[in-house]
Symmetry: C2
């Protein structure tokens, strides 16, 4: 349970995402994404971190890696990693994630889509942070791999977050870094 306000959930989508040419593809599942984002999720009080990939064979690989840290040698080698990875659940796609969440919480979560691109109807971090403090409605934050989420996903959003920007005109953060900054802006200690 979060300290106060809305329960936050996170999903990392590997399909449908864009490649560098704007084509819709399925991206590779990477070990580092799971580890880094799980740690950030744990730090900022996220209830569950869903890793969604449509290729079943990769679920077996991911499960193997997590087992190493959960009950294997890694569980005694690094307990903070075990702790973070306990938040991770594998999913097929956004729909299966929503279905699971609705089943678990009894509510359809508000869908918060992230994007590195500016565009219409963006919500500021300050606005969403305030909303999260004032509601009990669960929120699912959607992160994309590759060159970002396909328009099909963005169109389903209840909230599209503004891009993370620094003082420069460059905002090509890794998804791991972007996830950490997004959670810090929404839930970091102030």
């Amino acid at each position: 349970m979060a300290e106060r306000g809305a329960d936050l959930y996170l999903v990392l989508l590997h399909h449908p995402v864009l490649d560098k040419n704007g084509l819709i593809v399925t991206s590779a599942l990477t070990n580092m994404d799971i580890h880094d984002i799980a740690r950030s999720a744990r730090t900022y009080g996220v209830r569950r971190f869903y890793v969604a990939h449509p290729v079943k064979a990769l679920h077996a690989l991911a499960a193997k890696i997590m087992e190493h840290w959960d009950t294997g040698y890694g569980s005694t080698y690094n307990a903070t990693r075990k702790d973070a990875l306990s938040l991770v659940r594998l999913q097929h796609d956004l729909d299966s994630t929503l279905l699971t969440l609705e089943h678990e919480t009894g509510m359809r979560p508000r869908l918060v889509v992230t994007s590195a691109r500016p565009g219409p109807r963006r919500t500021s971090f300050a606005t969403l942070r305030a909303q999260l403090e004032q509601t009990a409605e669960p929120h699912l934050i959607v992160l994309g791999t590759g060159w970002g989420l396909a328009p099909d996903v963005t169109e389903r959003a209840d909230v599209i977050l503004e891009p993370v920007c620094g003082p420069a005109d460059y905002n090509h953060l890794s998804v791991r870094s972007a996830a950490a900054v997004i959670l810090d802006r929404l839930r970091g200690a102030r």
Copy 2:
């Protein structure tokens, strides 16, 4: 040149850092640290990202990886990566980094040490952010790998930043995620 205020520099130290048992060790250089932190540095207007490792053989490896993205196949495959990696310079340790910086800027930078641990004389992010806006003095932010920077490094600090905290009691972010959050708190658009 930063948009305003102090020029920021970043160094990632691989020695002296702590291992899980609190012993002083040299940690491994990882490709992902260089890529992710370079992207964050570029996003937040950092002038230079120094990667310090005492083992010369690893410099050759790192140089090879960066060459791939700078002039090799990677430079046309992903130009944003080339752009970020152009900030990276290899160094031996903190002293060689300080010497280089003093030579380049004509000033000894203010040393800002980061730590995931609470302790005495920590400076808040808000305080350092305000200071950075009001001075032209260069600042070098020191990040540690492994289980964090050795006390020898922390003792040399002009500023020790408070740990990054979320609403939970867990703050085991990866150094990649921590770097992004620290830069966002100091230089992110508000």
